[in-house]
Amino acid sequence: MRDTFIASLSELAARDPRIFLITGDLGFSVLDAFARDRPGQFLNAGVAEQNMTGLATGLALDGRIVFTYSIANFPTLRPLEQIRNDAAYHDANVNVVAVGGGFSYGQLGISHHATEDLAIFRALPGLTVVSPGDDWETHCAVAALAECPGTTYLRLDKSSAGRTERPGESFVLGKARTLREGSALTLVATGGILGVALEAADQLSTEGIACRVLSMHTIKPLDVDALIAAARETGGIISVEEHTVHGGLGGAIAESLLEAGVVPRAFYRIGLRAGFSSIVGSQDYLRTVYELDAPAICAAARRMVGAP
C-alpha cells in the first residue's frame, strides 16, 4: 500500500502543482523518486511531527494540498492537537498519512502498534477517515482525498487484500464495496485485514455459510445504508478490524445501526480486546495471537449461525 500511495501521489503531483508532500524524516528509499522529481513539492520536516502538521496547515491555508507522511502513531497521535485545532478546525486540506496500520510493524513494539487511530480520528469533527483494504482502493483514495475539502486521515497497512476491483468499477469515498454476496452473514472489514475476511468468507462458503463481504474503506463518513441493508438482508454482522474494539469500525456500525432503529439479528466485533500488546511478532503472528485471523472469524461466524 505504501508504494501504491507514493506512486499515486507522484502521478497527482505531476498534474497538480498544489500537491505537497511532507515527511517526518521517514520513508527511506521510498520517497527518493518523489523528492527528486518534484523538489518544489517535497519537504523533509525532520523528526518534528508537531511542527510538520503546523507547517502543513500554513501551506494548506494558502492553497496547497498537503500530505503529511510518517509511520504508525507518529503523524497522528504525537501532533493530534495540531491536527484538531490547526488543520481540522480551519478546514485545511491537510491529509495525514500513516504507514503501518494495526500490527504492520508488529515486531517493533507498542510504540509502533497503531491500534487506536481510527477511533480517535473518527471523533474529530469534519475529518474524512479512510482505511483502504487493497492497493486499488489505496490508489483511488489518494486522488479522492486530495479532492476532498478539509482534513483527512489515510491509514495504510502493510498487508493488502490483493486486487479486488471489478472491470469498470469506480471508487467513491463513503461508499462500501460489496466483494462477496451471501445471506447467512455479513463480514464488514476495513484495512488490509480485508484479505483475512475474504479468506474466512471463502472457507465459510465451503461449509455452506455464504457471507456477504463489505469493504468499508471509509470509516467516516460511514456507509450506513449498506449496513442497514446488511442488517435486514443477512443473518448478522461481524465487523473485522485490526484495531481496538473500542470506538473503531465495530463501534461505528453499532452506533449507527442502533440509532437507525435497525438491529442486526446477531452482531460481533473482531478486533483487539487485549489492550496493549507487550509481545511482538509478525503481523500474521499477532493476528493469530489476538484472534484476528481467518480461523477466529470463521469460529465467530459458526457460533452466530449455530453451526458446529
Partner: protein
Amino acid sequence: MIEPSAGDTLTPSLAERAAKTIPLAGRIRRHALHMTSSGGSSHIGSILSMSDIVAVLYGDVLRVDPSNPSWPERDRFILSKGHAGAGVYAALAETGFFPVEKLATHYQNGSDLSGHVSHKGIPGVELSTGSLGHGLSVGAGMALGAKLDGRRHRVFVLLSDGECDEGSNWEAILFASHHALSNLCAVVDYNKIQSLKPVRETLALEPFVDKWRAFGWHVVEADGHDHEQLLDAFAQAAAHADSPTCVIAHTVKGKGVPFMEHSVLWHYRTARGEEFDAALSALHDGSDQ
C-alpha cells in the same frame, strides 16, 4: 495598515508614525478592559502587555486591507498567545475589519468572539489559537509557501514568554532558520511572568536572546511599550534577508494600570466595580490616548 496614498512623497518619521499607533494602543486597552470586565474573562494583564505591539502592527506595519480581508498579498498575523484574543479583536475592530459594536458580544452566550482568538466569522483573524505552541509552525508554513511561490508578503507571529516552554516552538524555530525564512518575524511578548510564577522561577528562558541566536535567528530587542523602538525593530526585521527575525519585546504585564502591573493575579482576575473604574481611569490618564 492601510496602503499609503498615491500622493505620499515624504517618508514619515518614527515619531510621526508612533503618533498614530499610540492612540490605537490606548483604544485597544480600553476595549479589552470593557470586554474582559463585562464578559467576566481572564487575561487582561496579558492583553495590556501586548497592546502596544498589536497597535504598532495593525496601525502601521502590516499590509492588510480591512475591506478585503482575504487579499492574497496581505501580510499574515498570527496571535499564538490566543488567550489575549480580546486585544486582537479590538485591533481588528478599530482598524475597520468589523464594527466596533461587535466587541460588546465578547465572551457572551452565542458569541463568536471567543475568549481565545477564533477565525470563524471574524474577518481578519488568520488562525484560531488557544493552545500554546501552535502559531509559529503554522506561520512558518505560510512563510515557506510564500517563499516557494516568490510572493513578497510577510508573516508575523506573536508569542508569549511562557509559551516558549512548549517544545513545538523550538521545532519551528529550528525549521525556520534552516529554511532561511526571512519573511517570518516572531515577536515575543517578554513580560517575564507566566501562568503561576515569574518565568525565571518556572522554566528559566535566559539567556533568551542567545538561545534564539544559537538557533540561527536574527534577534532585535526592543522596549515593547515604546512605539518608535517597535517600529524600528520591525524595520530591521524587514531589512534582514538571511534568516527569520525574532523581536524580543520587553514588556510589563498589565501595562497601563498601575495596580495590575507585574502581577500574576491579573492573568486571571476580572476587574469589576471600583477596580474597573480605577483601571479605566488609569487607561484614560495614560500617555497613550
